[in-house]
């Protein structure tokens, strides 16, 4: 009896100490809490993205000794891409000293965090995805859908098709089919494609593929009947390779299928084998390891045995490079904020200021060793996307090859729609819309 009671106490004490572990940061460290997903259906994306992010943070620590002497630290919590686990990791890691920014790479987790990070005054980075209207920094001071939001993606794809046809006026009477995943994510751009169809007078058909999308025979038969000039693939997971294989079966040419940002990775095309050859997809960051920053990661980080990817062949893959670019953007935001606030551990609100002044022109991008990896970014207090350019890559059966220049989406056309949606959110939540970047953020 007594023994078991002691055991119970010991167990309770062990549990309590584990729950209370929060190692104090030494002076001048900046902490990145990572809600990573290395297990579960989206592990391929998670290991690539968080691997690249960690590789870049390691590069900064090893090569430069941190950002102006401030060491970068991080800790991972596994989410399996599930919202409730992401929330748990948020609650677990938010109390650590010197939290710089959150980078969940999951729309669902990001949504659940908007209220929380706004209250805690820490930036939330949703690179390439996220809530479109959070582009409006007047209403969402702490949320940054950097480089590309779903609406800009739509515009970028339309502009690319126009460039292939020889100008937007040539889009008239062309036919485009959008094949979208039957989820809120897939349906988000339906009204935007309609807007562009009206604007450029092309005919448009949008066809849904129910989740998970491993059977698309009937959809592709309708596509064959419709005889479109292009098919836009707005896919997700297993839906992508199945779409490419079924397209081959019905004889639709792969080089007239344009994938969106969630259909653009190696994992989306390799399972499709030959059927993927010629397939084209949008990206904000080119793949490959020929860029100087990637070479330094290979030499400095992997050379020191600190590389995060288990499979070195994945260095330079789409998700790995997205992680690297995400690392560059986070680190540069800290550097910019340090120039104003001092070379020390910054608060979340100070890092937000850094992100709101994250302006990297092509010359600065080149100096960072990322020329041609991504184009540029120009975040301001009210534009949290930062006018990211997109490029298009074609799968040659072994790797992605860039086949376009850097294309600018039609931001001016989309901005009023975004502002309207953001204004609705502000009204619903009683948020005071900021009127200038210098204004203190109030809740």
């Amino acid at each position: 009896m007594i023994k078991s009671r002691y055991l119970k106490f010991a167990f309770a004490a062990a549990v309590a100490s584990v729950l209370a572990t929060a190692p104090a940061a030494r002076a001048d460290e900046q902490f990145f809490p990572l809600q990573s997903y290395r297990v579960g259906p989206y592990a391929a994306g998670g290991t690539g993205f968080f691997g690249g992010f960690i590789d870049y943070l390691n590069l900064i620590n090893i090569r430069d000794g941190g950002v102006n002497g401030v060491k970068l630290t991080w800790d991972e919590g596994e989410t399996q891409y599930e919202v409730e686990r992401g929330v748990e990791v948020y609650e677990r890691l938010k109390g650590r000293p010197g939290v710089a920014a959150w980078n969940p790479l999951s729309v669902g987790i990001a949504y659940a965090m908007i209220d929380r990070i706004t209250k805690d005054k820490v930036p939330l980075i949703t690179i390439n995805h996220g809530r479109t209207d959070s582009t409006d920094g007047r209403v969402f001071p702490y949320v940054f859908p950097l480089l590309l939001n779903p609406y800009s993606e739509t515009s970028g794809i339309v502009n690319y098709i126009a460039s292939r046809e020889g100008g937007v006026d040539k889009l008239k009477d062309k036919k485009i089919v959008v094949l979208y995943h039957g989820s809120p994510y897939g349906k988000e751009t339906i009204p935007i494609y309609k807007l562009f169809a009206n604007k450029y007078q092309f005919s448009l058909e949008q066809i849904e593929v129910p989740h998970p999308g491993n059977e698309q025979q009937s959809q592709w038969l309708s596509i064959r009947r419709a005889k479109p000039d292009y098919v836009v693939l707005r896919g997700w997971g297993v839906m992508n390779p199945v779409a490419l294989k079924t397209a081959q079966k019905v004889g639709f040419p792969a080089d007239h299928i344009i994938g969106n940002v969630w259909s653009n990775s190696e994992e989306d095309v390799i399972p499709a084998g030959d059927a993927a050859k010629g397939y084209i997809a949008i990206t904000t960051q080119a793949s490959g390891e020929q860029y100087p920053v990637l070479q330094e990661v290979i030499k400095t980080v992997y050379g020191a045995g600190k590389g995060n990817l288990d499979d070195k062949k994945r260095i330079g893959s789409v998700y790995h490079n997205l992680g690297i670019v995400n690392g560059i953007l986070n680190v540069e935001a800290i550097r910019i904020a340090q120039a104003k606030f001092g070379k020390r551990t910054l608060t979340g609100d100070e890092v937000r200021w850094g992100f709101e002044h994250l302006q990297l022109d092509p010359a600065r991008v080149e100096a960072l060793g990322a020329k041609d990896l991504f184009h540029s970014i120009n975040v301001t207090w009210d534009n949290h996307e930062g006018d990211g350019r997109v490029t298009f890559q074609q799968w040659d059966g072994g790797k992605w090859k860039v086949v376009s220049g850097w294309i600018a989406p039609d931001w001016a056309f989309l901005r009023p729609i975004i502002e309207k949606s953001a204004a609705g959110y502000a009204k619903e939540h009683g948020i005071k819309v900021r009127t200038s970047g210098d204004e203190a953020v109030s809740n």
């Binding site: 009896m1 062990a14 549990v15 584990v18 729950l19 572990t21 990573s36 290395r38 297990v39 592990a43 290991t47 800790d75 991972e76 919590g77 596994e78 399996q80 919202v83 409730e84 929330v87 748990e88 948020y90 609650e91 677990r92 109390g95 729309v107 669902g108 949504y111 659940a112 908007i114 209220d115 929380r116 809530r131 479109t132 039957g182 989820s183 809120p184 994510y185 349906k187 988000e188 009204p191 989740h211 995060n308 949606s421 959110y425 619903e428 939540h429």
Partner: protein
């Protein structure tokens, strides 16, 4: 050694004392001491899933009707609360919550109708219809999510009679109050004639019919009350815990999770629902944090996660072999051994 009374029941005054101490800790000490992480990330989801498990246990454990549609009713509760709050802002939140429960109950009764003809596995499969239909409808019709382009909705502020429950402590106390009241009412229902009817239907449907138990009413009541409770749990899950909702969060995995909670916790036991929820929600967290603290430097989080799954899976098998009636039976045996060691030795 004198023979101790064989019952594990506490005397009424001791029982009241235990309840009073429990209430003081749950309502007083926990929120006042302000363990934010504990409340926001552990206890609030535990309470929501425990209430859902109470609901499913009433249907499956007591009335013997297997259901795989729990997540659908969670979703109905969450979306109904959201829409009531949005479209009828003059209604107080508690009324929204009860109405949302009633809407979930109505849908539960509709999907419970096949139970009159189907049993066991066949019924379980037919409840899958609820699971897929609700998720499809919520994705298909933008109205449910107020035409939010991404289909994800934001939580309203929890407020009752002018008092707003913000902050971890507020949300926790709100959930705790709702769960305590709902569990108490369920207990009353189960101890009344309808509770005995549930058990009669479960144990021998034909015999129950012969002695005059109204089958139709009993089964539909079980579906209705169960869905009502699960609907309210869904509202808590969405608005007290996550504070956002997307239809994908209420998939079949969630239904299985709730089913596992009651099987592991113990069928036909309300305490079992809570114990099972604690095991499914809290235990993996402890394991995950212990793993990260002890071995975080050696392995990456993916490897740790995989090994935790193996540990949890092995434990579930071990528990169920040791006690097929679930954790609650194990707990009762342990409790008897602690309070009446002699009795155990003598028996």
């Amino acid at each position: 050694m004198s023979a101790a009374p064989s019952t594990a029941q506490l005397s009424p005054s001791a029982g009241a004392f235990v309840i009073a101490v429990g209430a003081a800790i749950a309502f007083g000490a926990v929120p006042l001491l302000g363990f934010d992480y504990l409340m926001d990330a552990v206890l609030t989801p535990f309470l929501a899933l425990a209430l859902a498990a109470v609901g499913l246990n009433l249907l499956t454990g007591y009335a013997g009707q297997v259901s795989l549609g729990s997540a659908a009713f969670l979703a109905v509760g969450a979306y109904a609360t959201y829409n009531l709050h949005l479209r009828l802002p003059q209604l107080p939140l508690l009324v929204d919550l009860v109405l949302a429960g009633l809407i979930a109950a109505a849908i539960g009764i509709v999907f419970g109708l096949p139970s009159l003809r189907l049993r066991g596995f066949y019924l379980a499969v037919s409840t899958l219809a609820a699971q897929f239909f609700v998720q499809w409808a919520l994705t298909k019709f933008g109205w449910f999510s107020n035409d939010n382009p991404s289909g994800v909705i934001d939580a309203p502020v929890l407020s009752v009679a002018g008092f707003t429950f913000t902050g971890p402590a507020g949300r926790y106390v709100f959930s705790l109050s709702v769960v305590v009241v709902a569990t108490f009412l369920t207990l009353r229902l189960l101890r009344a004639q309808s509770g005995r009817n549930f058990i009669a239907v479960r144990d021998h449907e034909l015999a129950a019919k012969v002695i005059g138990v109204p089958l139709l009413r009993t089964k539909l009541l079980a579906f209705g009350v169960s869905s009502f409770l699960i609907g309210i749990a869904g509202a808590l899950w969405a608005f007290a815990y996550l504070r956002t909702v997307e239809p994908a969060g209420f998939n079949l995995d969630r239904s299985f999770q709730i089913l596992f909670i009651i099987i592991i916790g113990g069928l036909a036991s309300l305490r079992g629902a809570f114990l099972g929820a604690a095991f499914i929600v809290v235990f993996p967290l402890i394991l995950s944090r212990a793993g990260a603290a002890l071995l975080g430097g050696v392995f990456d989080s993916g490897v740790l996660e995989m090994s935790q799954r193996i540990v949890v899976g092995a434990l579930i098998i071990a528990f169920l072999i040791a006690e097929p009636r679930g954790l609650i039976a194990l707990w009762d045996r342990l409790w008897r051994a602690v309070t009446r060691p002699a009795a155990v030795r003598n028996t």
